[in-house]
């Protein structure tokens, strides 16, 4: 191949031209992707960014020839090495799929076969695409796992998907996708289900592999931070329409489309939040001392000491009136368990006092009475609302249970509550499925507010929402806090959101608080190694701040939370580098 044709090939390895995707028939026909065009080159990364419903994932599926049957592509072309993929018969497509164009998905657990070991799955891929056969396949599987820096390769090969952590599974998925050395790698939200430090590892890994194999990468994401870290060129999509298409630098420095500007403005950025007044001189509403949550495990054998999962190990903090205390940490650190324990949804040890009243061990009427003062908002507004109840029934239920309000009084109160959270009062006859995710979260907030609580525990309340909606819900929470002098316990994994909202921040790691202090102390002057690591991993939606995540690539071994029943954990000691700033040593 001459140099010139090689360059030619590099220029347009994959090109999508005026692609349109439609669903439905006749009058119900809906165009979900319209006039999408882009070209992808070897060794370069193109990001398709957009919120849910923008058509970004469907576009990726169209390239793979995996669109659902109900979808039609009335116009457009997808050219891969001068082959038109849309009209390619399935038999030919199968040869390309996985071999030339590989894909990784958001949820690695559902993409791996739970009945086959990691080794079997990798070797099968190698054999199916005739990369290697016999012991060669095993050799190839080993090499690929090493390439994605999976520790203890030989042992991993024998393990099954459920034995690996989320990050390790995603590494295996990447190894499988890269095994055939594909020309194009499509990654659909590859890090969305992962913790930030794991996300940083995976992103670093993908960059590395791309450099090594000169792969063209199509990265689909909703996270502008990931875009800034990875992309060479960006396509911004909204409701199936391309809003803007530009090189990364231009997009971030001079966004043209108003939608892009709005999107970039809505992204919470670490280090940009305004000052917040300290609330520590206000009275304490919630006092938590040495909170422990343990889940007993079934005995493995008779006469062995029973074991237990130590989800929360001795957490203590104070929450003041009108204050927001953020609890941050990665999945499995015990932050949600802490919230659930405080709501008495789980049995716990230790003490938690709400306005001086002990919550531990409350039952029946006493517990019911306490619930008027402490309420919770959950992460998934889809799951938190009974789909068979109308909004009136759902938001009005606490009023019925606690105050036995008559129907017309409830209607009035529910209408007022809905207006307060920014929904028209007359929507109360509708059912949850008729609302969008953001609106549903507003409904959940209205329900939590119905009893006029003093404390609201918000467990990842905006994590399931699109960024633009996220900003609105956060604003609502702030307004309500000012209005009712509410105290929030704000549980989140998102540092930027926490920075915006929280007066004080506690960092949790394997069931314990490793650092707690005012927002500025913890987020801007972190003392504990884990806090630093967490902050270093947050992708920043800024140009010229592309970070080197190499330091994070080495797996950080988290201690095993399963302990024998009689194990006594070493007491945690804190130092106080600044007033009100405590760091575990």
């Amino acid at each position: 191949m001459s140099v010139q044709t090689e360059q030619e090939a590099a220029r347009s390895l994959l090109s999508v031209e005026r692609l349109a995707i439609e669903f439905g028939h006749g009058a119900r026909r809906r165009r979900v992707v319209d006039e999408l065009s882009f070209t992808l080159q070897s060794g370069r990364t193109l990001c398709i960014a957009g919120e849910s419903g923008s058509g970004k994932s469907l576009s990726a599926l169209a390239i793979m020839g995996l669109l659902p049957r109900a979808a039609a592509t009335p116009s457009g072309a997808i050219l891969f090495k001068d082959q038109e993929l849309l009209s390619l018969p399935e038999r030919h497509m199968q040869r390309l799929r996985g071999r030339e164009i590989a894909m990784i998905f958001q949820e690695p657990m559902t993409s791996l076969n739970p009945m086959m070991s990691i080794g079997q799955q990798l070797e099968e891929t190698a054999r199916r695409h005739r990369i290697a056969a016999g012991s060669g396949a095993h050799q190839r599987a080993r090499e690929m796992l090493e390439a994605v820096r999976v520790p203890h390769v030989e042992r991993r090969l024998k393990q099954y998907p459920h034995e690996l952590s989320g990050g390790m599974r995603q590494r295996v998925m990447i190894a499988m996708a890269m095994l055939t050395n594909p020309k194009v790698l499509i990654a659909d939200e590859p890090t969305t289900a992962l913790d930030v430090t794991i996300q940083a590892q995976i992103l670093e890994l993908m960059r590395d592999l791309q450099r090594e194999f000169n792969t063209a990468m199509l990265l689909i994401t909703h996270d502008m931070g990931v875009v800034a870290e990875m992309a060479d060129e960006v396509v911004v999509m909204n409701q199936g329409v391309v809003e803007e298409q530009a090189p990364l630098r231009q997009l971030f420095t001079h966004p043209k489309a108003s939608y892009t500007q709005k999107l970039l403005a809505a992204v919470p950025r670490l280090g940009t939040a305004g000052p917040l007044a300290s609330k520590t001189e206000r009275p304490v509403v919630l006092e938590v001392d040495d909170l422990k949550v343990r889940f007993p495990l079934r005995r493995e054998r008779l006469f062995t000491t029973p074991k237990e999962v130590r989800a929360v190990e001795g957490v203590s903090f104070r929450l003041h009136q009108g204050e927001t205390l953020g609890i941050v940490g990665e999945s499995g650190c015990g932050k949600s368990t802490t919230g659930k324990a405080l709501m008495n949804m789980l049995a716990f040890e230790g003490s938690a006092r709400l306005n001086g009243q002990e919550l531990n061990g409350l039952k029946g009427e006493a517990l019911k009475a306490v619930r008027r003062d402490i309420q919770m908002i959950f992460q998934d507004p889809f799951a938190a609302l009974n789909p068979r109840k109308s909004i009136l029934e759902l938001v009005g239920e606490p009023l019925l249970i606690h105050h036995r309000l008559a129907l017309h009084e409830r209607e009035e109160r529910v209408a007022a509550l809905l207006e307060q959270v920014g929904l028209p009062g007359d929507t109360m006859r509708r059912y949850p499925h008729q609302f969008s995710g953001g609106q549903r979260q507003r409904i959940c907030i209205a329900r939590a507010l119905a009893l006029k609580p003093k404390v609201i525990i918000a467990d990842e309340p905006v994590s399931a929402l699109d960024v633009s909606v996220q900003a609105q819900v956060l604003e609502l929470l702030e307004t309500l806090q000012r209005q009712y002098d509410l105290s929030y316990l704000f549980i989140s994994h998102d540092m930027a959101v926490v920075e915006r909202l929280c007066h004080r921040v506690a960092v949790m790691y394997s069931g314990q608080i490793v650092e707690i202090g005012s927002r500025d102390q913890v987020l801007h002057d972190p003392q504990h190694a884990y806090t630093r690591r967490l902050l270093a991993a947050v992708p920043v939606p800024e140009m010229d701040s592309r970070r080197d995540f190499k330091a994070l690539l080495e797996a950080f071994e988290s201690p095993n939370p399963i302990k024998p029943h009689d194990y006594i954990a070493p007491a945690q000691c804190y130092i106080e580098p600044n007033a009100g700033h405590f760091v575990a040593v």
Binding site: M343, M345, L367, K368, R371, R372, Q375, M376, F378, D380, A383, A384, L385, N386, P387, R388, K389, S390, E397, P398, I401, H402, Y431, H433, C444, R447, A450, L451
Partner: protein
């Protein structure tokens, strides 16, 4: 008022309207059997058999033909509707009620009570249903109501199993946990939040079960421990004449069609009812 509205919207679907009409016909026929049936169902007509003693095919006198003993098949089917409906509705109704109670209790209360109930269910499942029915029927001398009871005793097991697992999966959903945090009592959660989600399953069993019940009754009748002849039921008409299927196919065909049409009708109505009661499906069809 709401019930009437649901009824009217259901009737808008042609298949449901036909099914409802058929159910009404069967109910009316069973209630007014003495006036509708042209003959006494147990009278053996001399001219109801050919000279060789074979039953007559459908003709002007005997609309659906006659059976092996020269009785009028149409009259027997009309009277049999009574038996089959009672067995189908009563027996299956009792089975669904018992099954639902056991399933919900075991799935919602859990603990030792749930454990005991589910082990009992497993035991019943492992035991051959027919053997149990035979034993019960032998102890209690067979009559229509006893047969219904026996069938209910055998059939509740499957319902309990299904409702149990449904209850567990719904109780594990997040909105149930949320209800607890707003202070809802267990009874409130059970009746206001769990039960509405179980209605579709219960309805499907209440309607689907009718056909299996009618068939089980037929089996028991065949074994001589079901509805006792000469009292007709759709099941025992078929079983009395099944060996003559090739020479007198109408004897099996007409009651067979009646059974299929009745259970199909109940299924269609049940499906429509389930959809109508589910607010998340509104405006999607």
């Amino acid at each position: 008022m709401a019930a009437l509205r649901i009824f009217l919207t259901m009737c808008r679907r042609p298949s449901v309207a036909v099914a409802l009409a058929f159910i009404v016909i069967v109910v009316v026929a069973s209630l007014l059997a003495p006036w509708i049936a042209p003959y006494d169902p147990n009278e053996q007509f001399f001219e109801g058999l050919t000279l060789e003693g074979a039953p007559l095919p459908p003709n002007a006198t005997y609309w659906l033909g006659t059976d092996l003993l020269g009785r009028d098949l149409f009259s027997r089917i009309v009277y049999g509707a009574r038996t089959s409906l009672i067995i189908g509705i009563v027996a299956n109704g009792i089975a669904v009620v018992i099954g639902t109670l056991v399933g919900i209790t075991a799935g919602f209360v859990r603990g030792w009570l749930g454990m005991a109930l589910m082990r009992l269910t497993d035991l019943m499942m492992a035991f051959p249903a027919l053997l149990l029915a035979i034993a019960l029927a032998a102890i209690l001398s067979p009559s229509l109501w006893i047969v219904a009871l026996v069938i209910a005793m055998v059939n509740w097991v499957q319902v309990a199993r299904v409702i149990y697992s449904e209850t567990i999966s719904i109780a594990a959903r997040e909105f149930v946990a949320v209800e607890r945090t707003i202070g809802a009592s267990s009874l409130r959660i059970l009746f206001s939040h769990l039960l509405p989600h179980l209605v579709p399953t219960i309805l499907v069993w209440a309607t689907l079960g009718i056909s299996t019940t009618v068939l089980l009754e037929a089996t028991l009748s065949f074994l001589g421990i079901g509805v006792q002849p000469p009292l007709p039921s759709w099941g025992n008409i078929i079983f009395e004449s099944q060996s003559y299927f090739t020479s007198a196919s109408w004897l099996v065909l007409f009651p067979g069609v009646a059974i299929v049409a009745l259970s199909l009708s109940f299924n269609l109505v049940g499906d429509a009812l389930r959809d109508e009661l589910d607010p998340t499906l509104k405006g999607r069809r």
